[in-house]
């Protein structure tokens, strides 16, 4: 397994790191969309995420990583249970699955196992990337260049949380709940609004304009390549500390409260910006609580709202051909009126 660059060694890019941290504290925020040019460290950051996630308990041998404590299990586990199998559990790392731009539909949704059909003459479903990503992360680089039919499919699956396959007389349903992480360069194509809406938070990354930061990035990268093991050892403490922080934030999350005044403010903000639907408000609420938990606070405040609003709302604004400014600017303008 290739070693990944440590998350805590990533220089600057605070907004991207924050969005990813929040999605690990509260997965129901609904994923992160990262816009930016090539070579800004998007992929590095996402790959480094795997090491931050505490391992999860799964039914041993289940291709869908069923949670042994869950009320319902997938069809495969149910079948084993019915057959009198004793299901065991073990800990595995949370999956972070890479979905390449050129993935075929078969590889994404799964297909019949050709090999078994040929050698044993039986029909067996071979799970695809959606199964692999269940209870974890699905990362799509260049999400804005994805084929339309795959976009449709992802929109559908991420809404329902399950993948339905009807093939050759097989009819399979399996859980497919994952946090979607997409990255892309908006200059190469826009993303459909329906797809944009599937992402909870969005960030815009640029190469740090501060030269010292740039130099730092290259020095660290260089040190990592020269001796990855030594480099990782150097960051072991900070990685562990960050992991602890994620864990304690998760525990704290359930107790975080939001005052009515802040909720009212959030609703007003969405109305003022003209974001469609309730999703913006929901994301704001969940995101604020996660942010408060991450800060070690008991209560989400207007300050949290102010920090989170650009991340939660900027990709939900409707196009305004008469307004030249970027959506980030538009969000900030309205925020300035509010605070």
């Amino acid at each position: 397994m290739a070693l990944n660059f440590p998350f805590t060694a990533i220089v600057a890019q605070d907004e991207m790191k924050l969005a990813i941290a929040l999605s690990t504290i509260e997965p129901s925020i609904g994923g992160v969309l990262i816009f930016g040019d090539r070579g800004t460290g998007k992929s590095t950051t996402i790959r480094s995420l795997a090491a931050l996630l505490p391992p999860m308990k799964v039914v041993t041998g289940c291709p869908y990583h069923c949670d042994p404590g869950a009320p319902t299990l997938c069809f495969a586990c149910e079948a084993r249970k019915a057959a009198g199998d004793k299901l065991k559990a073990n800990l595995v790392p949370v999956p972070v699955v890479d979905m390449p731009l050129g993935a075929t539909e078969d590889r994404v949704v799964g297909a019949l196992d050709i090999e078994k059909a040929l050698s044993q003459g039986v029909k067996v479903f071979e799970p695809g990337l959606l199964a692999k990503a269940n209870r974890g992360y699905l990362y799509i680089d260049e999400v804005n260049l994805l084929e339309d039919h795959l976009v449709d499919l992802l929109i559908d699956v991420s809404a329902s949380g399950e993948n339905v396959v009807e093939r050759e007389g097989l009819s399979i349903r399996h859980p497919a709940r994952f946090v979607l992480i997409g990255s892309g360069n908006p200059e190469e194509g826009e993303l459909r609004p329906q797809m944009l809406d599937r992402f909870g938070l969005s960030v815009e990354v640029r190469t740090p304009q501060d030269l010292a930061h740039r130099i730092d990035i290259i020095k660290r990268r260089d040190a990592f390549e020269r001796d990855p093991v030594a480099f990782l050892a150097q960051y072991e403490d900070s990685e562990n500390e960050f992991k602890e922080k994620i864990l304690s934030s998760r525990k704290r999350l359930a107790r975080v409260t939001i005052g009515d005044d802040v909720l009212t403010l959030a609703t007003k903000l969405c109305a003022q910006l003209g974001t469609d639907g309730l999703r913006g408000e929901l994301t704001l609420m969940r995101g604020m609580r996660a942010l408060a938990a991450f800060d070690g606070a008991r209560k989400a405040t207007a300050e949290h709202l102010k920090r989170l609003a650009p991340l939660a709302l900027r990709h939900r604004l409707r196009r305004n051909p008469l307004d030249d400014s970027s959506s980030t600017t538009r969000v900030e303008r309205v925020l300035a009126d509010f605070f």
């Binding site: 090539r38 200059e187 826009e190 459909r192």
Partner: protein
């Protein structure tokens, strides 16, 4: 191109080949921009015999299937042996060697995505589709044969290659000598590479000069550091010295520059708003006139260096360590010298090659689901309804593995299916339909005359029209492009795009003023329209000018000649049969403009009748639908 410059280019090309062989995965690859021919062959032969004999160069065919590329079940072998046979993909087979990408400007984004995912990870999935990954590292050699500016290799792929080599301007004479490199030298350098030190001062300088030239990608800075290390290893040193830093900057950063360092004077772009009467007072962008400013590669015993006739700082071996600032200066000179003179004008105008490199989205556009013509694309599973055509071969391939099982099933079912073993049983799931890569919609090309006093207003209208058209591009899938007439050239200020973000950014930096080379503009617009057509989209041209040309095709001043040229190129537009909207921007309709419009068979509209971006956009949309 002088032979001196040519020869240094040739040596640089050979040096990059050596560096890639020393650190293939770390340096990613080399993009060789050149037409097919003896010089390119010579370079490749040098790499295969002098640098990496016995090492695999795996060609990746343009229309490669995923299974061939990534590995998987070998269907043919499996069927003939009756048991599952897996084969590794070409990428797995290339581990430790190189992949060669012919016609790199035409590789599908789909294939690029797969290749880059492997490059990124240095691993490839086991062909048996298990979770297991096997190490897979290789260097890439891409032969980019694109000619038109929007035909170059996909920027995503270029981003992952440290080097770019341009061989088209070279003559046979430039390429007679070769660097003294042999496989032993490379092998030793490879061994030494992990131990090479690179002073942080150098990392800082390289990062700084990358920033100065507007190279934002962090990957480029990393490539420069790795190239400096590989150079030090090649030169039998323990550590990177100044020389390697300068060379690495030239080899990695030059072709990535998107602007000139701001401290320098802008070069001759502030043209007076008048007719240029001769082209003598300014250097015409012309390769042949360029003086060589390029340094000789400091190859130990192969330096064919003649004294350079410029003041470019030559690092001497025995020079004392200059301060960091001096090194900065040196790097900036080295990179500047490498940028071709004709790219300078573009760069200073804020239209770096990074923009033209974006390539048109023609190759990466959406597929039209019902297209029945165009370039074949990956077939999809689906029913041949609504005029879609069955892909018989793919259908049979999909059906074959299931035959045994289906035969058994139909026996059980006692089905009415005629149960001869020779009959292949096909089910709806097997059906694949052919898809063709056909771009959808219309590309509206604006040709905007940005000269003279009304430039500001005209530009504002054109920008307004562009944004208006883009604002609803989701629905119509249209793209827009813009060519501006400025001074003596016609510049593509916006290659065809559907991205509002990008359009706004490029148009924001659009200055006005200068002469009116109408003929050049018509020719440019014609070329772009034809290339759009080749990609299966419909070009629509919107010309905005008062029709008063004052710069000829040659780029010299002179009204009469300029007007004749304009008429002539207008006739070419008519011959090509493009749909054209001619907007006369003069305050009162001009006979000249109307004559030009008639000559190109355009729809002529004087500005007073059509006075806003919105109106233009509506007209254009209307015309496009005719």
């Amino acid at each position: 191109m002088t032979t001196q410059r040519g020869q240094s280019t040739w040596f640089d090309a050979q040096t990059t080949a050596a560096l890639l062989a020393i650190d293939p995965h770390g340096l990613g690859g080399i993009c060789v921009k050149s037409q097919f021919g003896p010089i390119r062959d010579g370079w490749f032969a040098f790499m295969q015999t002098q640098i990496a004999p016995g090492i695999q160069f795996q060609k990746i065919p343009l229309q490669i299937q995923d299974e061939q590329l990534l590995g998987g079940l070998d269907l043919e072998a499996t069927l003939s042996y009756g048991k599952p046979i897996y084969s590794s993909g070409l990428l797995a087979k290339s581990h430790g060697g190189f992949i060669v990408l012919p016609m790199a400007e035409r590789i599908s984004p789909h294939t690029i995505a797969h290749i880059l995912q492997v490059v990124d990870r240095g691993e490839v999935r086991h062909p048996q589709q298990t979770a297991e990954l096997t190490p897979c590292e290789f260097g890439m050699i891409a032969f980019d044969e694109g000619i038109a500016p929007d035909e170059s290799m996909h920027p995503r792929l270029a981003e992952h290659m440290a080097f770019e080599v341009r061989l088209d301007q070279l003559s046979q004479n430039d390429c007679t000598d070769s660097l003294e490199i042999n496989p032993t030298v490379i092998a030793e350098a490879k061994k030494r590479l992990p131990e090479i030190e690179c002073d942080t001062r150098f990392i800082e300088s390289l990062t700084q000069s990358a920033a100065a030239f507007g190279v934002d990608s962090i990957r480029a800075g990393l490539f420069a550091v790795r190239a400096a290390k590989a150079l030090a290893a090649l030169r039998n040193q323990d550590a990177v010295t100044e020389d390697e830093v300068v060379d690495a900057a030239r080899l990695v950063l030059t072709h990535r520059a998107t602007r000139m360092p701001s401290s320098r004077e802008e070069q001759g772009l502030d043209e007076p708003d008048a007719e240029p009467d001769s082209a003598e007072d300014e250097e015409r962008p012309n390769e042949d006139q360029s003086t060589s400013e390029q340094e000789q590669p400091e190859q130990d015993d192969s330096n064919q260096g003649k004294d350079s006739d410029t003041d470019a700082n030559q690092p001497k071996e025995n020079m004392e360590q200059p301060s960091t600032d001096d090194l900065e200066e040196l790097l900036i000179e080295a990179i500047r010298a490498g940028i071709p003179p004709n790219a300078l004008a573009q760069l200073t105008a804020g239209l770096g090659r990074a923009n033209s490199k974006q390539g048109s989205k023609g190759q990466f556009g959406q597929l039209q689901k019902n297209a029945n013509s165009g370039r074949p694309a990956e077939s999809w599973r689906g029913l041949p309804k609504g005029g879609k055509r069955l892909d018989l071969l793919k259908t049979i391939r999909a059906a074959v593995p299931w035959q045994t099982m289906r035969q058994a099933e139909s026996k059980v079912k006692q089905s009415a299916v005629n149960n001869q073993r020779s009959r292949i049983q096909i089910r709806a799931d097997d059906l694949h339909i052919k898809r063709y890569q056909q771009r959808q919609g219309v590309v509206t090309i604006f040709l905007v005359d940005a000269s003279g006093s009304s430039a500001t207003q005209r530009l504002a209208e054109a920008k307004g029209a562009v944004e208006q058209l883009l604002a609803d591009c989701y629905i119509r899938r249209d793209e827009v492009a813009m060519i501006a007439l400025r001074g003596r050239t016609a510049d593509v200020v916006l290659p065809p795009t559907r991205s509002l973000v990008r359009a706004k950014r490029n148009l924001a930096a659009l200055p006005g003023g200068g002469g009116t080379p109408l003929a050049t503009g018509f020719a440019a617009v014609n070329e772009m329209a034809l290339s759009i057509r080749r990609k299966g989209m419909t070009p629509l041209i919107v010309v905005m000018t008062d029709g008063v040309a004052n710069v000829t095709l040659e780029g010299v001043g002179g009204r009469e000649r300029a007007h004749q040229d304009a008429l002539q190129t207008a006739r070419q537009l008519r011959a090509a049969g493009h749909a054209i909207l001619f907007i006369d921007t003069a305050s009162a309709p001009q006979a000249l403009a109307e004559a030009l419009a008639n000559e190109m068979a355009a729809q002529y509209l004087p500005l007073p009748y059509i006075n806003s971006g919105k109106a233009i956009s509506q007209r254009a949309a209307h015309l496009a639908r005719q």
